[in-house]
């Protein structure tokens, strides 16, 4: 079975050597790009230090989804239950609230 991958946004403190960039990384200062790496690049220790020096706060990496189908469904269900709690006072029939609810749910399923 081919394992699927998913994108994860991680704070810089959690980024480790060998992680693979999920989207191109471009750091800039005063609107001028001063560091960039392509999507698919495997990060090295040097890259991570270079990002820290340039004040990167987060990185988007591609990770293998190692969850079984049952684990994935259980996580989705838990995320949806929590989301319902957070939206407990909202009218989900309201189009704006409904759009936000669906957007967060979609984000939790990535």
């Amino acid at each position: 079975m081919v394992m699927e991958s998913r994108l994860r946004y991680l704070p810089i403190s959690e980024v480790k050597e060998g992680m693979v960039l999920g989207v191109p990384l471009v750091l800039s200062e005063h609107g001028v790009s001063n560091f960039s790496l392509p999507a698919g690049h495997a990060l090295t220790e040097t890259n991570i230090r270079q990002m820290a020096v340039r004040h990167a706060e987060f990185v988007c990496v591609q990770v293998l989804d190692e969850r079984s189908e049952a684990e994935r469904l259980a996580e989705y269900a838990a995320a949806e239950a929590r989301l319902k709690h957070v939206f407990r006072g909202s009218n989900l029939e309201d189009p704006a609230i409904s759009r936000l609810y669906e957007a967060v749910l979609a984000f939790r399923r990535t």
């Binding site: 946004y9 810089i12 004040h55 987060f58 990185v59 988007c60 309201d94 936000l100």
Partner: protein
């Protein structure tokens, strides 16, 4: 026993809050002053040794691994090494963190404020709206709750308990117990501290921006807080999405067809980072 707050009482008791960091106003003035110099910023910061020490420490962590290899020793070096804009952000956040710490509020209060500040900045970038005051408006938007917790802890706790176990909105419950909600108190305090008019308006109207939709900072702060609560960034039991004003989304040009997952991912990761750095 419900109380009936007045503006006079809020101002009178505010004297007993820790001193609001003067450096915040000084820096906000430099945002509008094209002639502001690095030297002026350093002078503002160096008036407060605690803030100075924290900035140098954070700047050192940020530049860890620099090929220069040397430790930063003062604010001058921090500014030259990590840049004026970043130092201003660090000073504002550190100053507010110190204020929250001295005010002895729960860490979840501070984490929520940081989350809304980060979210407002990311939203500003996402929608190409000016982010000049987004950080400060986010950090201060709930300052009225801090006042409530400090001077009426019992009533404040009763508000929280009621909200946690019901579907009633927080403003409604606050008005029942205080005769006023935290947005009104935030606005009175921001005004008392001489903060810029857009910031005063943003904290005053962050739950209901409809009367002032033309003020982009109000819209940004409102949408930012709604997104933070929807994303459950602090994970507190009482967290709930307040009313959501779609007109505020439209006013800042928020486009639901863009890459929302990426926006949410950035907000979540940056909030985790900021809460760790500024704890």
């Amino acid at each position: 026993m419900p109380v009936q707050l007045t503006e006079a009482e809020i101002n009178e008791r505010a004297i007993n809050l820790p001193a609001f960091p003067r450096v915040v106003n000084d820096i906000l003035e430099t945002l509008e002053d094209d002639n502001a110099t690095l030297g002026a910023l350093v002078q503002f910061v160096e008036r407060d040794p605690v803030i100075t020490a924290r900035i140098v420490s954070i700047a050192n962590s940020a530049s860890m691994g620099s090929r220069h290899g040397s430790q930063l020793r003062d604010v001058n070096m921090a500014v030259s090494r990590i840049g004026l804009a970043r130092v201003k952000e660090i000073v504002l956040t550190v100053s507010m963190a110190e204020f929250a710490h001295k005010s002895q509020v729960a860490s979840s209060f501070w984490e929520h404020s940081v989350a809304v500040a980060v979210s407002a900045q990311e939203l500003a970038r996402f929608t190409h709206v000016s982010s000049d005051y987004a950080l400060v408006a986010g950090l201060l938007h709930d300052i009225g709750k801090l006042w409530m917790a400090r001077f009426y802890p019992l009533e404040f706790q009763m508000v929280r308990s009621t909200v946690d176990c019901s579907e009633r909105g927080i403003l409604d419950v606050e008005r029942q117990y205080f005769g006023m909600d935290h947005c009104e108190i935030s606005g009175i305090l921001a005004n008392r501290w001489g903060l810029p008019a857009p910031v005063v308006s943003a904290v005053r109207h962050h739950h209901d921006p409809s009367p002032v939709l033309s003020e982009k900072l109000v819209d940004l702060t409102h949408v930012a807080e709604v997104f933070c609560n929807a994303l459950d960034l602090t994970g507190s039991e009482g967290n709930q999405v307040p009313s959501f004003c779609e007109a505020a989304c439209i006013a800042i040009g928020f486009d639901w067809n863009q890459d929302i997952n990426s926006l949410f991912g950035k907000i979540q990761a940056r909030t985790e980072h900021a809460c760790a750095v500024f704890r």
